[in-house]
């Protein structure tokens, strides 16, 4: 079939599954943003040409099967210990690109000391932090990032700041540490936000490629958990852009420049 200009129509493949993402069915629930986040990481690694050079660290959480989905070397860390594992790999193999993929229960709760100290040491790793305000895999318990008033299986009357404290803003917390090179909060709840998130993930990976110890880069991605929130995927996306984005403001909180090291 030819178009008006005489060219073959529909001959150019504009979009397909990135090569780093293996051709397998993802086990995530319908509308879960893990798939979108896997896709943007895979696209970034493809674009940077680092597929043979990247080591990923899978968390404990829904993304525990990351090694089944990505055509990369991926190790499985004990709960919350991904930054410690990444530190070792990065120091033993300094030419590799190392990233960790962690959820909020993993990074902000049990793994809090690992991430704080890895950030404070300025380890040259990229941390992709998926914040969906709940422990998704274990059945929707309250996480440190759970919103005030949010009902979970362990806070059936809603989170109350008098007994459970306030949700932690990790991107801002880590941006305050000297060892952090890049800290941003993004979301993947609309096409425009997906592109911004991809830009942030790319910057996070580039911090490792510049050949200098720029420090740790963290990209917090506000994500949905339609199953445990008890919402339809589209309503869950609206919650992320409304209630969650109000408490967890989107943006870049810190970005070190190469000139800072010269």
């Amino acid at each position: 079939m030819k178009n008006a200009a005489g060219k073959d129509m529909f001959s150019k493949l504009v979009y397909e599954r990135p090569k780093t993402l293996l051709d397998r069915r993802l086990h995530y629930c319908p509308g879960c943003h893990h798939g979108t986040i896997h896709k943007i990481i895979a696209e970034t690694i493809d674009e940077l040409g680092q597929r043979e050079n990247t080591v990923g660290i899978a968390p404990v959480g829904c993304a525990v099967l990351l090694y089944d989905y990505m055509d990369l070397d991926i190790l499985e860390a004990p709960h919350g210990r991904a930054p410690a594992l990444a530190t070792g790999i990065r120091r033993a193999l300094p030419d590799r690109v190392v990233f960790t993929y962690q959820g909020d229960g993993d990074l902000a709760s049990i793994g809090m000391s690992e991430i704080i100290h890895a950030a404070n040491r300025g380890e040259n790793i990229t941390v992709v932090f998926v914040n969906n305000t709940t422990y998704g895999m274990t059945g929707g318990q309250m996480a440190p990032t759970t919103m005030l008033g949010q009902k979970t299986t362990t806070s059936p009357y809603g989170r109350d700041f008098r007994t459970e404290g306030y949700p932690i803003r990790m991107a801002e917390l880590l941006a305050g540490l000297e060892g952090v090179a890049y800290s941003a909060r993004v979301t993947v709840s609309s096409p425009a936000h997906i592109r911004k998130a991809k830009e942030a993930v790319r910057k996070g990976f580039e911090m490792q490629l510049k050949g200098m110890r720029m420090g740790l880069s963290i990209i917090e991605i506000l994500s949905t958990c339609p199953t445990n929130w008890g919402m339809k995927p589209l309503d869950a996306q609206k919650r992320v852009l409304g209630e969650m984005a109000d408490y967890f403001p989107l943006g870049v909180f810190k970005e070190k420049k190469q000139a800072d090291f010269e």
């Binding site: 178009n3 129509m9 529909f10 001959s11 150019k12 493949l13 504009v14 979009y15 397909e16 599954r17 990135p18 993402l21 069915r25 993802l26 995530y28 629930c29 319908p30 509308g31 879960c32 943003h33 893990h34 798939g35 979108t36 896709k39 609309s190 096409p191 997906i194 592109r195 339609p226 339809k232 995927p233 589209l234 996306q237």
Partner: protein, 69 residues
């Protein structure tokens, strides 16, 4: 006049409906047939309006859309 074409992997779709409202030309719809996973997969309902912008494919969390232009 269509300037693009998409292909949805029927068996991979989980019917999350995220691709339906993002299409600027409203080409997507939820289907009526159940796939092997048990979901009513999305269908490419109005191919004549598609411009091949690939926004649906970027949005799909299960990467089951391919786009040609």
């Amino acid at each position: 006049m269509a300037t693009g074409r998409i292909e949805i992997d029927f068996e991979r779709c989980k019917a999350c409906e995220l691709c339906v409202p993002v299409c600027p030309r409203k080409c997507m719809e939820m289907g009526k047939t159940i796939n092997r996973q048990g979901y009513m997969a999305a269908v490419f309902a109005r191919p004549e309006d598609c411009v091949g912008c690939a926004i649906c494919a970027e949005t799909c969390p299960d990467a089951c859309i391919r786009v040609w232009r």
